[in-house]
Symmetry: C2
Subunit: 452 residues, 2 copies
């Protein structure tokens, strides 16, 4: 029996809430069971709609694959998304608990609301609802929803060659990014790459009394600060030799187009920073979307508890990451960092650099027929034509899809830049969730009219 | 009934073990009851011997005061020590639990073994045992054993004027420092001062996605590293304007005397550091004992758990401390640090500096009659004459005793520099514990022969 729009929207939201309650934190080894449960949840949802579903085991968390029947002469689209989420910490900064989804002011708050359960579910809903009508889809749709995006998608990367036939498609569709602003949808044609590291600086064999030893034994926390400071100047310019050699410059046309984008709210104010910051000669959007950057993601050393402990710590460590732009190779970067650290290492300490994951950046063709189809679908669903933007985040697997599958790529973000994707109080605007489902439906209609 | 030496040594050790089992961590608000219990323990021990005992309440943890009868014409000595201890963290680095005292290889391992329960108890034992003989002490002894030395002795400092009459004495005796090396006792005639701080750097109002915002929003962890690096160079030279203006230089005679000290084991090797470090033009002892230094005691920011979280943290903080030398004023330092941080603050972040505690350094008169008495007592008990040294640590209250009570000061350390005073596996050599008790007894005999 057909549901009213309101009934189906309520059902769409209820199902998202169910899914968000599962704490599928892929980086937390104690959450393996929850990650599996979140994968099973979406696999069951897809199987219930009549799609052919397969759980692909990996050395880590499983991937869920589904496909609709092949349609002669019509394109094949691969929808990619992920069911794993970032860690919720710091827990005390959430207004309501991360895994108890809560509606406030038209937004749904939960870890994974926008990144990426809420966004990938727009496509799952549009496809399942289409299947429920009994009418065949006008194209073949494949879905790959993995459980390791937040830890670098290494298993999917490794298995890509063996999965290439299964995943073969004309275009990958991914909704894991943002609109340009509230009421201004966007198509993202570029992403930054990433390279993440952990640095451990080792001083004395154990913590020492800073009075008895301070000044005669190098303090590894001070050494760490010197090393971190040596890697980037106060304006965000990275000081590693050769770092900018392969950076692809922004084209004048791109810079002009971005300059024409509707102005959003004061950027520094929106994130609560005291003032703007960044590399000289670039706008905030240029810095975030098209310039490589360095960030410290975590610092740990010595006494972190209450009160004073005048210790000279044995160790200090930093987690840090680079965002890369097209033509920068994350594998070459590790050697450059090791050389830099060796050169700048203070006396009396040793270091160990552990690379975690890396991926190059990507740029999509802004003139493809799939891009035209997406523009039409979004304009209809959001009642506003999308703008073309890049994003500063990384979806490491996107470049690999392009390389391996030789396909086009559509990054259709339904989120907003203040959705707190990796922070407390992550949210997703419920109206955009519904619009995303509608745009997704229209996208299948538009792409169905193209030849394969 | 008189005990054999062996019996009384066993009793001395057993009582120390009892006391060490009480986790009297003064900086940990959850341990208030344990801190009180440790104070009660030593108060009862002193009262049982027949001394007049008083518990002095403060705004924080109580102080235990005791005194023997005044002796006409004989000096008055004040024994000062503390029953509070440093936090035991990191717990996983202890071979046996911090509050389960364990004997291994002639050492007693426990938090507080050397700092300061084991050391102050040498005096308590010598006094109580003397009292038990029924013979009067040849001098008046007062004892002040407080519960806030590890958090800066602020209440004792504040109450010093009102306590001045009660504490009036000719000489303060403190055992909370180290011998020069194994088998080489020392009298410490100088201590460094201290000033401790916490710095909080605030960036955006909450943690942000480093991809979406990195490069356009200042990272407070990077800002913190720049600020910390700006305060000290790679050789330990502090870069705060005017910092060295009031530093009292080492005298040539002192440098020569220290140069004559018996050489100990390779210093870097003994602490497990890869090589020596420190301010140019000074020896390791000079750097530790007589030069001001800067140490980071703790760093905290962003993601510290397992795995990767590519966050741009909202905050970063450092706990840091300076060791000061005579003539440096810790109260003036706070203004200088604030100016320095303001001048060097990167764009886009704010900071808050919170001073914790501070105390100036001290130098004692090496030619006093009390120094002579101590030399004789130690030479007899340790069968080796003591050398005269300074120490790098701080006993903030010592300068205040000197100023308020106008007394001499004896710092008689029975510990060793590798006792891990503020680290895991803190220990105290049991033989030195016994020698300390003997030296303490002999000290009362020697001082009893001086006129008041």
């Amino acid at each position: 029996m057909a549901q009213s729009l309101q009934q189906s929207q309520q059902r769409h939201l209820d199902e998202l809430i169910q899914w968000l309650k599962i704490p599928s934190v892929s980086s937390d080894t104690s959450k393996i069971g929850d990650v599996k449960a979140a994968g099973d949840w979406i696999a069951n949802k897809l199987a219930d709609s009549g799609l052919k579903v397969e759980t692909i085991q990996t050395q880590g968390h499983p991937m869920i694959y589904a496909e609709s029947p092949a349609i002669d002469g019509a394109p094949v689209v691969l929808v990619y998304g992920h069911y794993d989420v970032q860690p919720p910490e710091p827990l005390n900064l959430w207004t309501t608990p991360a895994f108890e989804p809560t509606v406030r002011n038209g937004n749904l708050y939960a870890r994974g609301a926008t990144d990426d359960k809420g966004q990938v579910l727009t496509h799952v809903h549009s496809i399942c609802d289409w299947m429920a009508t009994g009418k065949p889809l006008p194209l073949q749709i494949k879905l790959l929803i993995e459980g390791e995006e937040e830890v670098g998608s290494e298993n999917l990367e490794r298995m890509m060659p063996e999965l290439a036939d299964k995943l073969a498609c004309d275009c990958v569709v991914i909704s894991d990014s943002s609109q340009y602003g509230p009421g201004q949808p966007a198509i993202t044609y570029g992403l930054r790459g990433i390279a993440t590291y952990e640095l451990l600086v080792q001083g004395p064999k154990q913590d020492l009394h800073s009075g008895s030893f301070g000044g005669a034994v190098m303090n590894p926390a001070i050494a760490l600060c010197h090393l971190m400071s040596s890697m980037v100047d106060r304006e965000g310019r990275i000081a590693i030799d050769g770092f900018y050699d392969s950076v692809r410059d922004l084209s004048p046309a791109e810079r002009e187009a971005w300059d024409q984008l509707p102005k959003t709210d004061d950027f520094a104010k929106s994130v609560g920073a005291s003032e703007l910051f960044g590399e000289k000669g670039y706008s905030a959007d240029e810095r975030r979307w098209a310039r490589p950057t360095f960030d410290i993601n975590g610092l740990t050393s010595g006494h972190q508890g209450e009160g004073v402990k005048t210790v000279l710590p044995a160790q200090a460590s930093a987690k840090f990451s680079f965002r890369l732009v097209p033509d920068q190779d994350p594998t070459q970067l590790t050697d450059a960092i090791n050389s830099h650290l060796t050169k700048h290492l203070p006396t009396g300490v040793t270091f160990k650099l552990t690379p975690d994951h890396g991926a190059p950046g990507m740029l999509a063709d802004t003139n493809s027929r799939f891009m035209d189809a997406a523009r039409a679908a979004i304009t209809a669903a959001f009642e506003t034509p999308p703008v073309l933007i890049r994003e500063g985040g990384s979806i490491p697997i996107v470049t690999r899809f392009q390389e391996t599958l030789r396909c086009d790529c559509l990054l259709l973000g339904w989120g907003l830049s203040d959705d707190n994707a990796h922070s407390p109080d992550e949210k997703f605007c419920i109206e955009d969730f519904y619009r995303g489902i509608q745009a997704s439906t229209m996208l299948w209609e538009s792409i169905g009219k193209l030849s394969s």
